[in-house]
């Protein structure tokens, strides 16, 4: 019984300070990079040079930073949606679907404001407000369906939301090959009017104003969860349904609100993608963002600031991976493996908050007696 993982010793009190968390997280990233460097060897590439190029490409140049912010924006929205839903005890996994729904809604509104569209051109501010609202509400209702299933009838949100992703996928598939299809060979909608495209915010890059909205949303989510009675009720319902019930909080309604807000935030990820990057609705829009955003939320410990940081780092790695593939022929899948290693190592590193490593045991010198002394002195 004692022999199992005996080089790990339980700490008397778990380490909880933020400096320890940062140290352990940094350690996990370094270890993951070291392990990952093995993957470069078959390509004859110096892994450390590759890493430094990667960082330079994603954070070292204005252009790189622009790309990184573009990639980070939808991740932040999904991450925020995850925070709101999960903290309320609603373990929603359907962000891939809400991204598509939000994107479809945004494109639809944008196309309506085409000079030949049903609405016609709108003042810029009015358009932005309208597209924001419609996109948010569409995603909110989409996720809200699952919320009602769970909140009113006790359904399982994990399975339901995963299945709803497929429905959204085929719905978009249908839209781009049917009702909204542009003339031509590709299954995609017409390009949205120039007037509906988000502003570029850094000259010389394609970074768009969506990142500002994302950062603003991060502040709002933080404020609502921390400072308002709504947030209090959501968090109590999420932490302890029985205490919520005792405190007069209707857990079912809280779940539905969590679904609506979470889904709405997820839809904004789709909105900024179409208004800032693709300018049209097309197949394969989500590309896993709906899941990576959840990972970013978890890495950020379900805190708004953590999510922003994790999303930007993650986006940076993706940008770096793209560049590396083009430059040195190392497949970007290598980077994706390393990304996954980083996630695994960070999640696993939590154990160091509860256990310490006994180095003398790890390396096997002087077994037995010395061990006992170490044990009893703790």
């Amino acid at each position: 019984m004692m022999s199992k993982a005996s080089f790990l010793e339980r700490r008397q009190t778990p380490k909880e300070s933020s400096s320890v968390t940062i140290f352990i997280t940094a350690l996990a990233i370094i270890l993951a990079l070291l392990f990952g460097s093995l993957l470069f060897l078959p390509f004859g590439v110096d892994p450390f040079k590759a890493y430094s190029t990667m960082v330079e490409m994603s954070f070292g140049t204005l252009r790189g930073i622009g790309y990184t912010l573009i990639k980070a924006t939808p991740l932040i929205f999904v991450g925020l949606g995850t925070i709101f839903a999960w903290r309320s005890g609603f373990f929603y996994l359907g962000f891939e679907g809400t991204i598509l729904i939000g994107a479809a809604a945004a494109v639809w509104i944008a196309l309506l404001t085409d000079p030949e569209g049903a609405i016609g051109p709108l003042p810029r501010l009015l358009f932005l407000l309208l597209v924001f609202l419609v996109s948010f509400v569409a995603g909110g209702i989409w996720a809200g369906i699952v919320g009602v299933m769970r909140g009113k009838f006790g359904g399982n949100e994990v399975i339901l939301s995963l299945m709803m992703n497929f429905v959204a996928l085929f719905l978009v598939n249908y839209l781009v090959s049917g009702p909204l299809r542009a003339p031509g060979d590709l299954p995609q909608t017409p390009r949205i009017p120039q007037a509906t495209i988000l502003d570029f915010i850094i000259p010389g890059t394609r970074a768009h104003s969506g990142i500002l909205l994302a950062l603003f949303a991060a502040i709002v989510v933080w404020f609502v969860l921390r400072k308002t009675t709504i947030g209090y009720k959501q968090i109590v319902a999420g932490l302890s349904p029985s205490a919520a019930w005792y405190g007069g909080i209707n857990v079912g309604n809280r779940v539905i609100l969590a679904a609506f807000i979470g889904g709405g935030l997820g839809a904004l990820a789709g909105m900024v993608e179409v208004l800032g990057v693709h300018f049209r609705l097309l197949d394969g829009l989500g590309e896993g963002t709906g899941f990576i955003g959840i990972v970013a939320a978890l890495l950020g410990k379900l805190h708004s600031i953590g999510v922003v940081i994790a999303s930007i780092l993650y986006a940076g790695m993706e940008v770096g991976a793209d560049v590396m593939q083009r430059r040195s022929g190392v497949p970007s899948s290598v980077i994706f493996v390393i990304q996954s290693l980083i996630v695994l190592f960070i999640l696993a590193s939590d154990i160091l908050r509860y256990y310490r490593i006994n180095l003398s045991k790890l390396f096997g010198n002087d077994r037995g007696k010395k061990t006992l002394e170490v044990d009893s002195s703790t």
Partner: protein, 510 residues
């Protein structure tokens, strides 16, 4: 004579708590040895170490003089040591026999189960020790007392010579407890050795041969029961003189605050748990509801706060019918509720103490249309609460789950009292609390009563009901067996009513 079990110098730490601080314990063969101490004194930890559930940091265990390194329960069982926990570990849809043989793996026996043979030996065992139970009955149909007998049979069937019982009477009626003691006596006379963990002094005096008192992880003393008395034991247990009887003058009861009329309530599974309860509670009095746990008390309390649908009947508070108003409005109607489970229901463990002090009443601390929480106001309220109710540590940002049971109860009770309710419903207020915290909580309840609050006290501890109540109602299977004034209360009569006899059917009832 070599002691049957000897624990030497046992030390066990959990994070920053020294749960067992170099404890010595020796238990002789054939004796009933009580392990007495407050909650958190380290009794259960010590026994878990003996049974192999926890592993000691230091120290040695000797069984019949042999050094024994017990690391798992199977090690303990092989040495003839068995333990019964507070929560029984039985499989409800299985029969008694199936439960007894489950997990048993006799070497050299045939791979086929011979349940009839097992049933016969169970029958023989149960007759020998007065453990009446039908080997073919399904466990889900048994009463708590019978389930406990099945647990004992399980151990005897495995040839356990030492039986450890962790607070065995907590779930029993006084009569069932009496039966258990007879069984234990019979086992001890047949060379079984029994260690039983308790914090109830009268049980120690009643049943044990010797008693070891534990406090703060240390074994304070081991005494012969015959040569000690409850007062001495209590002093050793707490480390100071204990007030046994809070000086209580009867309350001055005023007008009727709570009136329950013919209330019917179901539990979550649709079982008819409260069957036509009618009661009234007046201002300035404590009405105690006595009864064995699970006879509808919790459902009744929850229905009063409208946390559970009411099938039939009315609830009137201060002349207002509150039967169907939402639970958040109950608080504004002057009602407050301290639930039985303070950790899972009465508080949110992962939330700070400060935020727990506003649970159920957040709108009171918010502005902008009840939207934005006023942090300053919350902090002032929380500070006042921890100061007034002496919550330790005085750390408002600490997670509530990290408070000890007594301090958490102060937070929950304080939160409810600070709104100056006219009706306070309290469920199991001192369950699991140590003597000091129990005394504190009870004094607070009496103070509240004297302030004029109507208090509806629900408790499975008869001693608590007797100590605090002005009138006592007894509930059995969702029905009120009778209501008596506490100055006329006779323990035996209440015990009979807790077992289902109506007041008017009691022998000698005028």
């Amino acid at each position: 004579m070599v002691p049957y079990i000897e624990l030497r110098n046992i030390n066990k730490r959990f994070s920053d708590v020294n749960a067992n601080d170099h404890v010595d314990l020796s238990v002789n063969m054939g004796e009933i040895h009580a392990l007495l101490g407050e909650n958190g004194a380290g009794k259960s930890t010590l026994m878990n170490i003996l049974y192999g559930l926890d592993y000691k940091d230091e120290g040695e265990i000797f069984v019949q003089g042999q050094f024994s390194d017990i690391r798992t329960p199977s090690d303990a069982i092989a040495l003839g040591i068995g333990m019964i926990h507070q929560d029984f570990m039985l499989i409800p849809p299985f029969t008694v026999t199936e439960n007894v043989v489950v997990g048993l793996d006799e070497e050299g026996s045939s791979p086929l189960l011979d349940l009839d043979k097992a049933a016969r030996s169970i029958k023989a065992l149960s007759e020998q020790h007065g453990l009446e139970v039908d080997p073919h009955a399904r466990v889900e149909h048994l009463s708590v007392g019978e389930e406990q007998r099945v647990e004992i049979l399980k151990l005897l069937f495995r040839n356990a010579k030492l039986l450890i019982l962790d607070e065995p009477t907590a779930v029993l009626t006084p009569k069932e407890a009496e039966g258990l003691f007879e069984v234990l006596r019979s086992l001890a006379d047949n060379d079984h050795t029994i260690i039983f963990i308790t914090h109830k002094l009268h049980e120690v005096m009643n049943i044990s041969d010797r008693v070891t008192v534990m406090r703060d992880g240390k074994a304070i003393d081991t005494l012969k029961t015959k040569s000690t008395n409850p007062r001495e034991l209590a002093m050793k247990m707490v480390g100071r003189e204990v007030v046994f009887h809070i000086d209580k003058n009867l309350g001055k009861s005023g007008e009727c605050v709570l009136q329950i009329e013919n209330l019917h309530v179901d539990d979550d599974t649709g079982y008819h748990k409260v069957q036509g309860v009618s009661l009234d509670v007046h201002s300035g009095e404590i009405l105690g509801l006595a009864g064995v746990d699970g006879n509808g008390q919790s459902e009744l309390a929850q229905a009063l706060m409208n946390l559970r649908p009411i099938k039939e009947g009315n609830i009137i508070v201060n002349d207002v019918d509150v039967t169907n108003i939402s639970s958040s409005l109950h608080r504004s109607a002057g009602m407050a509720y301290v639930p039985a489970d303070r950790r899972k229901v009465g508080s949110v463990s992962e939330l700070s103490v400060a935020l727990n002090t506003i649970l159920g009443n957040i709108n009171h601390y918010a502005t902008a249309g009840n939207l934005i929480i006023q942090d300053l106001q919350v902090r002032e309220h929380a500070e006042e609460l921890v100061e007034r109710f002496d919550v330790r540590p005085r750390n408002l940002t600490l997670d509530a789950g990290k408070l000890s049971g007594g301090n958490l109860q102060k937070v929950v009770l304080g939160r409810e009292i600070m709104h100056e309710p006219s009706l306070l419903i309290v469920e199991q207020p001192s369950r699991g609390l140590d003597v000091g915290a129990t005394e504190y909580v009870r004094r607070q309840l009496l103070t509240e009563r004297d302030r004029g609050t109507a208090i509806f006290l629900i408790s499975a501890e008869l001693e608590e009901i007797l100590a605090l109540s002005d009138r006592i109602a007894i509930i059995y299977e969702g029905e009120i067996m009778g209501v008596i004034n506490s100055d006329e209360a006779v323990v035996e009569a209440i015990g009979l009513m807790m077992g289902g006899t109506r007041l008017e059917d009691l022998p000698g009832y005028r």
